[in-house]
């Protein structure tokens, strides 16, 4: 088996007296799609920050491509929550994607012919060729989010970190954006770590699920983890996992911000 892209060993994280998760052992292989789900405040975003080197573990280690994490990394493609870009920002769609390829390079923003070709190809891949020259701030949320996927994948990163990338997108755009992310791992073997409160839009793509709740975690395939008895044990209270028309709904989880409730948008755990 090829080397894991991301490895956590005996990793624990807590703030003050509160423990978010502990003794987490996790390996994400190239081309693997891992969904991180769970209610708000269980440390999903903190896990991402740990992988990005912005959050230090209470104990344990985290390594990326065999090296301990310290700070950001060019091998990571990061797709943040949809956040509209300020009006008047002097960038066009293709410039945003270009930053993902060469934004780290010092000097003036000139691109080589190969780089421009690469950006064109990526724009086509995310269906943004038609508005490639439009100011980013004039584009809709869905268009901007497709560009962010383009920005994240243009450098063919080994790991795609997605922080609620579907939040506040309509269903069509949720589908488009998650398929773009999925294609990147199928065609280029990128590992995907996808934090979401709603697993349904990506249920067909997910290899494994990391479920965080009540200071505990479970890792496994969706069928192994998203079951009434597993979640009931985690929460310590009866919880029903219902499957209906290919969708999963969790009923009775103590946290009111139900993790799979499609309408509980806009809430995020602190830190």
């Amino acid at each position: 088996m090829s080397q894991a892209v991301l490895s956590l060993r005996q990793a624990s994280l807590g703030f003050g007296g509160r423990r978010l998760w502990q003794d987490l052992d996790l390996d994400v292989a190239p081309g693997e799609f891992l969904a991180v789900i769970g209610p708000n405040g269980t440390g999903k975003t903190s896990l991402l920050k740990t992988i990005l080197g912005q959050q230090t573990l209470t104990s344990g280690t985290v390594s990326l491509l065999g090296h301990p994490v310290n700070g950001g990394n060019g091998e990571i493609g990061y797709i943040p929550q949809q956040k509209l870009i300020d009006q008047g920002t002097p960038l066009r769609a293709r410039d945003l994607v270009t930053l993902g390829l060469s934004g780290k390079r010092w000097g003036l923003p000139f691109s080589s012919r190969e780089e421009r070709a690469r950006v064109d190809e990526t724009l086509a891949r995310v269906g943004a060729s038609d508005f490639a020259r439009s100011p980013v701030s004039h584009l809709s949320g869905g268009e901007q989010q497709r560009l962010r996927v383009g920005q994240a994948v243009v450098g063919n990163p080994r790991l795609l970190l997605c922080d609620e990338p579907l939040l506040s997108l309509d269903l069509a755009n949720q589908k488009a954006v998650s398929e773009l992310i999925n294609r990147q791992r199928i065609e280029f073997g990128a590992a995907v770590v996808f934090v979401t409160h709603d697993v349904n839009p990506i249920l067909d793509m997910v290899d494994r699920v990391l479920y965080l709740a009540a200071g505990r975690f479970r890792i496994g395939t969706p069928d192994e983890v998203l079951r009434s008895e597993v979640l009931s044990e985690m929460y310590g209270t009866p919880v029903d996992v219902l499957r209906s028309r290919g969708r999963i709904v969790v009923v009775g989880a103590p946290d009111e911000a139900a993790p799979h409730d499609h309408h509980a948008l806009g809430q995020r755990e602190a830190s």
């Binding site: 990571i76 943040p80 920002t89 930053l99 934004g103 020259r133």
Partner: protein
Amino acid sequence: MLHTDDFWSQIFNFTDYGQLLLLVRNSILAGAVLGVLGGLIGPFVVMRDLAFAVHGISELSFAGAAAALLLGANVVAGSMVGSILAALLIGVLGTRARERNSIIAVLMPFGLGLGILFLALYKGRSANKFGLLTGQIVSVDDPQLMVLVVVAAIVILGLLVVWRPLTFASVDADVARAKGLPVVGLSIGFMALLGLATAVSIQVVGALLVLSLLVTPAAAAMRVTSSPVLTPILSVAFAVTSIVGGILLALGGGLPISPYVTTISFAIYLACRMVGRQRARTGAVDARTLVPAGSGQL
């Protein structure tokens, strides 16, 4: 009471213009360099939402200059010390916009108060005092002009070096940080450059009017284009036009140049707003692509 004729001849007076022009040749050249600087740094000031910070820095820069005047030290050096201190304080303490704004609001009156104190204690020529607030590049002597130009050139070079990563970090700090860019270092480095830029711009338009050089030209450019290449080019053109035009118009009248500079820069901004609006009306597609709608228009 001012007669209308006197009034206009005081504002626009072009007698002996050729000779005057020779006298201020160096000021014009220095002004052009400062225009290039203001035009280049402006888009970053707007993107990073630092307009208020510029104002705060300039008040502390004024305090530094006033202290230097009082102590008989170099005024330009004094204003640089003041503005770099202010810029770094704002940069280090105010990483979030809201925090930053309150820190600026705390620092600004303190700096202005200090400046007023130093000026009140100063017994020299009163024109010197007023110049710090309202600017007077024509009265800056040649060695000092040289200092301004050298500092401006250093800041311009610095900007060119960090241009692309700074753009990335300004548009989306989170993604830039994930890619491994030193976002905090870039931000503090930029504040230092901004401090220097503010200090030298103050010599032209004064502490109170610095925004007209560091923000207005960029804001105007961003009204008419979203191209990352065209924005700084237009912004530079607007800033240079404002400064050089201001110096040229002010030459004969014996009035400070700042009102000329600020008026030109404001007029350009108004024109750009109108052009931008016109474009938006003639069709969203044209406004988006920034290609003039059909040939012959615009």
